[in-house]
């Protein structure tokens, strides 16, 4: 398009103004990118949880252990399809700062309850057969450069090895992928039996139970039946759907959804006013120039388009810089937050949404001045000047 140079010259004619408006848009899209990514990460646990999966934890505090006997007792309850259990290992790799989420689980039932974990059949077999082996999620394997066959030392900040020290040596027998992109694969699984045999405390307690029901419609009655079953025991339970459990966990951080909406709304509202106002002023300053262009024979619609392209260029300039900034921010944060928020990725969805908002911002801020440029009458414009 031949007019692009003209548009570009108009956009850049006032450097300070360009800088300030670009900066405002930059900030808005930085916030948008970062916050939407954060929301995605927080929600992915909820979204990804199967709707017939229940979690059973200690009623007083979900970090309290439950007796091992609960596994079989729960399996016996009507409507329960498959029970498995997990223990928190509190693991770190080489340095305490490098935490890796590690669970001690009963391998076969765990994989049955979590069908979204995908493993090569031979690796699966190897992991099941080797007590002292560990199964590693793809994301964490990639992050640490681990391959099948590697030996890795894992230390616990809770438990001690009965042969002394707090470090276990594992051989990686398998790496699991997620059935979907958002499936969490940033943790490690090893044998509960091996855990109990090698740690110094001994004892038969488990962290929590996870189970599937025959049908999601039975979730509530099954949950009630489980909690009733263990009522008035030493370890009363609290059973909820995995979705509710994850959600409750997230909501401890606050009403994320509302905060996010508020922040994003404020950011966009502010730049809409700032940029919109700037565009109106910029075009008003050019009244005489637009009249000249029209006199020379530039069609009104062509000038209309030029104004809209200018406001869209501005929106994309600031917006893409903002997204770039958000990307870098997230890159930095995800290295540190990987264990809490494994899905901290600025994904394609957010990118497309942001591009959509940039276009919208450009059109909204440009439309009023574009229309006044379209309607501008040559004679009245010259009389005014």
């Amino acid at each position: 398009m031949k007019d692009l140079y003209l548009v570009y010259k108009n956009l850049t004619r006032k450097k300070m103004r360009l800088f300030l408006t670009t900066f405002a848009i930059f900030i808005a899209f930085l916030i948008f990118g970062a916050i939407m990514t954060l929301r995605g990460a927080l929600n992915s646990g909820v979204e990804m949880s199967a709707d017939n999966r229940l979690v059973v934890v200690h009623k007083t505090n979900f970090t309290n252990p439950l007796p091992y006997s609960y596994v079989n007792k729960t399996q016996a309850i009507e409507g329960v399809k498959q029970v498995t259990h997990a223990n928190w290992f509190g693991g770190y790799y080489q340095e305490p700062a490098n935490q890796v989420v590690t669970f001690a689980v009963e391998p076969e039932s765990y994989l049955a309850v979590y069908p979204e974990l995908v493993i090569e059949p031979e690796q699966r077999k190897a992991w099941l057969n080797n007590q002292a082996s560990i199964l590693v999620g793809e994301r964490i394997a990639l992050a640490n450069g681990w391959k099948v066959g590697d030996r890795i030392p894992l230390s616990s900040n809770i438990f001690s090895h009965k042969e002394g020290g707090q470090t276990w040596d594992f051989v990686i027998e398998g790496i699991f992928r997620g059935a979907e992109q958002k499936t969490d694969t940033s943790y490690l699984l090893f044998h509960y039996k091996y855990f109990k045999e090698t740690q110094s405390w001994g004892g038969d307690s488990i962290g929590w139970l996870i189970l599937t029901t025959e049908d999601a419609a039975m979730n509530e009655s099954v949950a009630k039946a489980i909690d009733n079953n263990f009522a008035n025991s030493n370890a009363e339970t609290d059973t909820s759907t995995e979705q509710a459990f994850n959600k409750a966990f997230i909501e401890q951080i606050g009403n994320i959804g509302l905060i996010i909406f508020g922040v994003v709304f404020m950011a966009f509202f502010t730049i809409l006013i700032v940029v919109g106002n700037t565009m109106v002023l910029a075009i008003r300053e050019r009244t005489a120039e637009i009249a000249v262009l029209k006199t020379l024979g530039f069609a009104s619609i062509r000038i209309f388009k030029m104004v809209l392209i200018e406001s869209c260029l501005l929106a994309f300039l600031g917006g893409l810089l903002g997204l770039g900034g958000a990307y870098l921010l997230i890159q930095g944060a995800s290295e540190n937050l990987a264990r809490f928020l494994p899905n901290l990725v600025l994904d394609q969805n957010i990118l497309l949404q942001a591009l959509g908002y940039m276009l919208l911002l450009g059109l909204i801020t440009g439309i009023a001045p574009a229309i006044s440029a379209l309607k501008l009458n040559i004679i009245t414009a010259f009389n005014r000047g």
Partner: protein, 232 residues
């Protein structure tokens, strides 16, 4: 010089309505402009000179009557047809040059060529010729703010002629310039008229500017009063 009429105004009326009030600028105005003419229009302020130029330039349309250019009626064209017509046939020169402040001289001159199908290199070639014609080849990459009024008006003239229109309309082209610079501009217009066959209509308040034209008409209250023959 041919004797063919380039412009013909036939019983033209122009009225402006402001609310309930109607101001009549012209009534039953007839006028012919011959191909190759250089016509100066003089007259007191408010007599309708600019309004007439606007009608000739297809920037405004008559309330009544017909305007023919080169045998083709332009008073009944739509706004977008008029825009095309202006781009093809008319070069405009304004009192205050009206250059785009963010474009250098060459880019300013190039503007009318953006309305043609010429390639960038063809456009550049024509811009070069136009700037040479007004004696500003060495200022092609200067910004308007870096040029004197006379130089800016030369750039404006180059812009007006770059697409080779038949007809140039100048509204007080020297109104903002000192005598010597004004004379240089007027000599350039004369050259364009005599050597390049441009038909020129120029509005001016300045009798000595009018001397550069081939003939002068006086407008008063929307009517031509008897044109005096000016002797040098």
């Amino acid at each position: 010089m041919s004797n063919q009429n380039l412009f013909e105004l036939n019983q033209v009326a122009k009225r402006f309505t402001k609310g309930k009030e109607t101001i009549s600028i012209f009534q039953d105005l007839n006028m012919q402009i011959k191909d190759g003419d250089f016509l100066a229009i003089m007259g007191p302020s408010g007599s309708g000179k600019t309004t007439l130029l606007n009608l000739l330039g297809g920037v405004d349309q008559p309330t009544e009557g017909q305007i023919t250019f080169d045998g083709q009626r332009i008073d009944n064209l739509s706004e977008s047809q008029l825009a095309k017509w202006r781009a093809n046939n008319i070069g405009f020169i304004f009192q205050f040059y009206n250059l785009m402040p963010m474009l250098n001289a060459a880019r300013n001159v190039e503007l009318p060529l953006l309305l043609t199908n010429l390639s960038r290199s063809e456009r550049q070639k024509q811009v070069k010729i136009a700037l040479e014609l007004v004696g500003l080849s060495d200022r092609a990459d200067h910004m308007p703010s870096e040029m004197s009024g006379g130089q800016q008006q030369r750039v404006a003239i180059a812009r007006a002629v770059v697409s080779d229109p038949k007809f140039l309309l100048c509204d007080e082209p020297t109104g903002d310039l000192d005598r010597q610079t004004a004379d240089e501009i007027l000599q350039t217009l004369q050259l364009l008229n005599e050597k390049f066959g441009k038909t020129i209509v120029m509005v001016t308040h300045d009798p000595s500017a009018a001397k550069f034209a081939k003939q002068t008409v006086h407008l008063n209250k929307g009517e031509f009063v008897k044109a005096e023959e000016l002797s040098a």
